[in-house]
Symmetry: C2
């Protein structure tokens, strides 16, 4: 199951971030051991029949929240939103929360305004669920229900396995509400296998674009639908580990303004999956090519993107909803390789610490 590095030397040289990226298949399996908690939480959510599932988190956890809006929309057909933390915590807005569920995401469980948001919304009647890698954290204590991410300790400042386990936990919760928990559990087990099998090849494949992009200062990362979460997370990895100004955009956002900034020094990373969003991504990639920018194509449908200078395909998942659990990995590996090419340490980006206590 464990990803096999190319050689013992590569293993010795692997930093924290790369080791944790490689560990993602095993981390999925550790989360799946918590079927009972996941099932209980999903039943509580189903009983509440929320008119709104309010997702909150910052940074990587906010990328996962984007995935959650699709997982809850597509599996049980529930309206899920990335809620504004500031409305509740700073402005004191008074929503009727009696038919709301809250899902709060935080690796450390210590993000102050996320903890405060959960405390206030619970007090005001929302059903609150915490998803965190630290079951003893303030966030875990603040929420009515806690799902342990079980990703194992994450020591790199840039998150990887806690992100993919957040996606898996959200998929499992949404599936549980839709009475499809065992189907999605089997799907994630299969994703773990597929990812373990693909890891070595992907590590080799990112080397060439990373070298070519050594002096790149700005990029767009394009996804749509489910894969917009992937676009957000890949852009965040590139920004924090490689000091690239990388902006996530939907394929449609791109056409509504940002395409005007592109040129041959401004490459674009695309994420393509075999689902209903593919035509929009293909059309967006055409626009990028017409603007003269270099294209990277990733995701299970990378081969559908015409004219890409680099292709980083991942295996097709057993269920389309699970595609983002695989699609993010080439972006993580590329960020690690690009940081090395730029002479940066991906484990310790400047001005960042593992637990962010910013309000």
């Amino acid at each position: 199951m464990a990803a096999e590095p190319e050689s013992p030397a590569a293993l010795l040289n692997a930093g924290l971030f790369l080791s944790e990226v490689r560990e993602q298949p095993e981390a999925f399996l550790r989360l799946l051991e918590h079927q009972a908690e996941l099932g209980t939480a999903a039943r509580a959510l189903a009983e509440r029949a929320p008119t709104a599932v309010r997702l909150v988190g910052h940074g990587t956890s906010d990328s996962a929240a984007t995935y959650g809006t699709y997982a809850f929309g597509l599996l049980p057909g529930l309206t899920a939103l990335r809620d504004s933390i500031s409305l509740t915590v700073y402005y004191g807005a008074t929503f009727d929360l009696s038919s709301s569920a809250v899902i709060a995401l935080s690796q450390s469980g210590r993000t102050p305004d996320v903890v405060e948001y959960v405390a206030r919304t619970r007090e005001r009647g929302a059903l609150t669920v915490a998803i965190t890698n630290d079951p003893d954290s303030a966030l875990a204590a603040a929420a009515e229900i806690m799902i342990p991410l079980s990703a194992g300790p994450e020591r790199s400042v840039a998150a990887s396995k806690t992100y993919t386990n957040e996606l898996a936990a959200l998929a499992l919760l949404a599936a549980g509400v839709a009475d499809r928990l065992s189907e999605v559990t089997d799907g994630i087990r299969r994703v773990a296998d597929l990812l373990a099998g693909a890891m070595d090849g992907l590590e080799r494949a990112v080397a060439a674009p990373a070298m070519a992009f050594t002096y790149v200062g700005r990029m767009y990362v394009i996804g749509r639908g489910l894969e917009f979460a992937t676009a957000r997370e890949v852009a965040l990895k590139l920004t924090e580990t490689c000091r690239v100004a990388a902006e996530p955009l939907t394929a449609t956002d791109l056409a509504h303004g940002p395409v005007a900034a592109l040129d041959s020094l401004f490459p674009v990373w695309t994420i393509a999956s075999h689902d209903e969003s593919l035509p929009a991504v293909v059309e967006g990639a055409d626009r990028v090519r017409q603007a003269g920018a270099t294209l990277v194509a990733s995701g299970p449908a990378a081969d559908e993107i015409a004219g890409a200078a680099y292709r980083l395909a991942v295996p097709a998942p057993p269920l389309p909803i699970l595609s983002p659990l695989l699609s993010v990995v080439p972006g993580q590996l590329f960020a690690n390789a690009l940081a090395a090419a730029k002479g940066l340490d991906p484990d310790h980006p400047e001005h960042l610490s593992k637990v962010t206590l910013a309000r």
Copy 2:
């Protein structure tokens, strides 16, 4: 009332974008002539008592939708979200829409997937409202209720007065639901006066930073709470008219990763208002300064940002909720001046057309 240009020569030289930016005070007054339609729409929204107000739009209209989530959250205490268009239009998600209201924003009223979203959600029971500058558009026809933006023809590809009128229309609708329509109407009339009085000074004030930023390739634009809409819109203007990779971030997002990319060649634009979000923005600005990046401070509370190299303060609005109607203007004027400094035509960015038909 009309903004006075510095001289007749300046008026002759003004391009479409600058002329339309200057016209914003008058455009507000034209919208206020539609009290009756606004009142009727607000009553229909209040009667529906929606559990979710679903806002949709692309580009500039999506920045306005961000404002809408705060206006509806703060005035009538309703849960409003920027809904995923792709979930409904491409993935065919089946939400219960019987207690939903939809507000669709589009300058042209021709954005295909926005029109399609309204058609589908109306069919499935949502109360649908279109806010558009073209009362004869497909979007106007698709929705049950239509609010004319009345901004007057907008000819520049980069939007300005339709954005601020979208904000005003959303504020008025939200105020109407909260039974505060006349208070917010008076507030917008006062904002029009304040803006007309401030326009000339702002035009002069943006000249120095625009010159200094001639070779800038990347920027962050930081706001929080209500002013996150302003951050999104200013970043979009810089991207489309100046080819700057400008990313909007909340002050808290900044700390969760992107701060690592900053250096002295990567300036940050901040938007500061006198409201509950100010401490987070002040803290974010401190982080920017520590990273060695140049700071620009704008908004009514620009003077609260320590160590800013440039300050572009706007007058304080009569109601905090109306701050974004003023705060965006220095960003628009700066984008216009920076485009000129870079030798670009802000009226006709490359690869863009006024009506975006991208899916």
